[in-house]
């Protein structure tokens, strides 16, 4: 109980973060990330 009280702000923000992640997943953002991440990122490795 004390833990919850002392970390109220952090836990609320963490919960908000989870909600945003669920929303983002729901609108297909993870597909874009996957598409980018499974191909070699030419910008990252300095090739353009």
């Amino acid at each position: 109980m004390r833990f919850l009280k002392e970390n109220r702000a952090a836990l609320l923000l963490a919960a908000a973060g989870v909600v945003l992640m669920v929303l983002g997943t729901g609108r297909g953002e993870t597909e874009i990330i996957l598409r980018k991440a499974i191909n070699i990122c030419m910008e990252c490795i300095g090739l353009g």
Binding site: L20, T30, A37, I38, C41, C44, G46
Partner: protein, 296 residues
Amino acid sequence: MVDKIRWIKKHIRLWVQILFAAVSNGYVRGFLEGRIYRGKGKMICLPGLNCYSCPGALGSCPVGAFQAVLGARNFKVTFYVTGFLIFVGAVFGRFVCGWLCPFGLLQDLLYKIPFIKKRKRLPGDFWLKYLKYVVLVLFVIVLPLTVLDVAGQGQPWFCKYICPSGMVMGALPLLAVNTSLRAALGWLFTWKMVLLLLILLLTLWTYRPFCRYLCPLGAVYGLFNRISVFRYQVDGEKCTKCGQCQTSCDFDIAVYETPNSSECIRCGRCKNVCPVSAISMACKAGEKKEKNTVSL
């Protein structure tokens, strides 16, 4: 026994860093064959600056993922990566930088190399430390959102022009075994290589210059340091303000005054050297917490 505990305390962070870097980049075949992992795990972001073009990477870099979504034609905001950063920031803050970031590990190892005279701060440190916020706003948010190609897509400006993690973790191992990639080297590679070498050279001189002055991920996590679950508190009744915490801190943070500075990466050295054990992790302090604690 006491010596053993002291040894573990002294080295535990290094082992956690090595273990986490090895596990999150554990696709060994990628290193051998010069290609990257293509599994669905890459939908999930890793907490540190871990390039997704590292042949071994099993997850995605949050900064790269952020720019990828922002630069996509259909999205101008990313709930998923923003939520991830808020979640990790709220729980860990910059603990991630100190314990879970592979590029932080590289800088830690380089800093151990003896060099003429180590400096705690570079000249202009007061202003330079705000540079990472400029990098965050300009290279991670504004430019990928506003500079668009004919198809309406933005570029990952931070990854393309700044990120040294992409060079160390992605470019070097891929180019070592992939000859077709080597044929495509040009001015951009030269620019990023020069920047990488400059950062690595500076790392011999001062502690973690990239984290301190340029890292947009550290800038974001630092904003959460004051409220994150993994935060420090100083027992005002025990603290004698002897300054040993600041002396031991490679970032030169006056921990007894600002234990939750946005620059603190939670390496824990201040906790270990405090002669009166006045510094503790707030989430572990429990009943020991008394009045007069400093938690700024």
